[in-house]
Amino acid sequence: MATEGETKPEPARREGLFRTFLNATELDIRILGMVGALLVIWCGFDIYSGIGREGEGTGLLGGFFLTPRNLWTLLVQTTPIAVMTTGMVLVIVMRQIDLSVGSMLSMLAVTGAVVQVFILGPSLGVGHPVIWVAGVVTCLVAGTLVGIFNGVLTAYLQIPAFIVTLGGLIAYSGIAFLLASGVTIAPMDKTFDVFGGGIPESWIGPFWSWMLGAAACALIIYALYNGRQKRRKFKFPLRPMWAEVTLGAIGAVAVLGTTWVVNSYPWPFNLIKQYAEANNVTIPDGVENTDGNAICMSAGDVVRCTDGLIYYTGYAVPVLIALVVGAAMTFLSSRTKFGRYIFAIGGNPEAAELAGINTKWVTVKVFALMGFLVGLSSIIASARLDAATNALGQSNELYVIAAAVIGGTSLAGGVGTVYGAILGALTMQSIQSGMQLLNLPAAFQNIVVGTVLVIAVFVDQLYRRRVK
């Protein structure tokens, strides 16, 4: 059977074109389904937000959702949850749970802010480069340590993770409160704020965005090529060439399309103006056009115009962080021993132990990784807000777990993907942002998000049962 060359899927004709496509490309149908659902949601919001406001919206379908600005914002808004959910997938796959991530985020964000604003700020002077480094290191190290603590209690003292982290959920928010004494700590260090995506310094601009996009495409092509070479070397069946090309094309379109979108979002008018004034950039003369995104000089005033000075944002730093984390965690879960052990433990903890895996140590490492990611997320969240409070991040655990579950992670353990969870986070944030865009009441938003969670899991179960 392991013949050289391309496989010929014999029952293809009977199963239809779509099935052939899936078999050949080895794409996960559930992920395709999720992407499809996401696109439907996006289009729905765009159409809906345009109703009654014809001519105002610049979205693809006449609304306010499918605009570079909204999609760009959506990506930034998703990052804190997305970063955490990549860790939560592994925790859940290993048949554990971490309910403490929301409170932990508060605690870490407040700790980082205390270090920056109360401890180092006054002694080193505002803006000293040690401050932001210390803030980042504090959040990451403290996060990892708290994760290790959760993990040790779970693995070595055999207290169920549900209890350990439920305790953490309650206790860490208390610590956050004490540290912050109930008030907002602000402002953060300006360099630290680069992690938040709210200031021009954290937008890498179109040039570097295209460069990164191109590099990502090259990586995709290399990975496909490398995979094919490996299959050939070991004489495994190869994917048909058209399937390889299709996969490469899908990857490239996704990467370049996203890059194009973020590169189409111009800096807000005021920021271009402020930047030009601060850096003595000459503003060209032009004709005023209030719909334009560029700035011009007209009769001595700075005005909006279509053909003048304009900057585009490109990727925001937090989005890049989330993308890198997503890629790294996918890699970790599928290409390393550590990842393999997590899945094996989730599939059959006893078998994993008998196979000689140090399941306790793996458990500790997974919780430590979760803690590290919460630390990273706390940096993004507090930099984005330019402040930290004990309310920041609270109840995030629900969204992080929901994102993982919507993304196809099974609470029974053993099953889940990092990219699925990130898509889950994006889906949830899309629904929330879209409803906020429509100015629907908060209670209604909660109802919809809750319903989507249940439906997503139901559809997933249906699918699994049919596959069986």
């Binding site: 070991f234 390393t336 094996a344 994993a352 000689g356």
Partner: protein
């Protein structure tokens, strides 16, 4: 075969005791195993065979007694220790991780890695295909998670895992329990082959006939205690049955 002299057993479990909450599951049992030998462990359910053997494989810790490998005392505290000593176990409960594929199960805990330190899935799959091809040529489902495999397929994965790492001592806990006649025959042939290669095998089984067929010696346990060890060639089925049921050693046996 550079097997050690017949007087140095490959494995000796000496005066092993294990208790669970005051009940002695294994009570002062001594058994041994020589290279190229198959020793059957017999007894009713709850006689203590599985518990005894799990002491050797590192799944349980003994409360008393010593373990010797090649005449040297060793300490086995977990499955990793046992594996490092060349002891492989095929469990009754078919200990496979259900959600990963055959190759991943074969190499679980001892994955092949590329020069970058990453999982070398292709190499593992290739090796898995080779080993499984020898063991069970009909096996084709390399990409599917273990939970979708049949009992026989799972058993062949478990056996392949044990032999893949050049085990010196093999423990088989009812290896044919879930198998059809053809697959049972396959396992029997495999045991003969491994024996020829000089492995020592502990075989736990309910089925006296298969023990009589496959084993050189048989140790019988009852209520946690060793009834006795006999040379299979020197006793009849009825003798062994008597040992299992009555807990009496036949007078003529050594």
């Amino acid at each position: 075969m550079d097997a050690p002299a017949k007087d140095a057993p490959l494995v000796e479990l000496r005066n092993i005791s294990v208790s669970f909450g005051g009940i002695k599951a294994v009570d002062d049992v001594t058994v041994d195993l020589y290279p190229g030998e198959v020793v059957g462990l017999l007894g009713h359910n709850g006689a203590g065979k599985s518990t005894l053997i799990k002491v050797l494989s590192g799944a349980y810790r003994r409360d008393a007694g010593q373990i010797f490998i090649n005449g040297k005392e060793v300490h086995i505290n977990n499955p990793r220790d046992a594996k490092n000593l060349g002891i492989e176990t095929i469990y009754q409960a078919l200990a496979l991780a259900d959600n990963v594929d055959a190759a991943a199960n074969l190499y679980l805990g001892r994955e092949l890695k590329t020069s970058w330190g990453l999982l070398d899935d292709a190499a593992m799959e290739a090796e898995a295909r080779r080993v499984m091809g020898r063991l069970n040529p009909n096996f084709k489902r390399f990409k599917e998670p273990a939970k979708s495999l049949s009992g026989g397929q799972r058993q062949s994965v478990a056996i392949a895992r044990a032999i893949l790492f050049n085990a010196k001592i093999l423990i088989m806990d009812e290896p044919t329990a879930a198998l059809g006649p053809q697959e049972t025959q396959m396992v029997a042939e495999l045991i003969h082959e491994l024996k020829r290669q000089g492995l020592g095998i502990f075989l736990i089984d309910h089925d006296i006939h298969s023990v009589m067929k496959l084993c050189d010696r048989a140790s019988v346990m009852k209520n946690g205690q060793l009834v006795g060890t006999v040379n299979v060639g020197e006793v009849s089925d009825d003798d062994i049955l008597g040992m299992i049921i009555l807990g009496k050693k036949p007078a003529k046996a050594a």
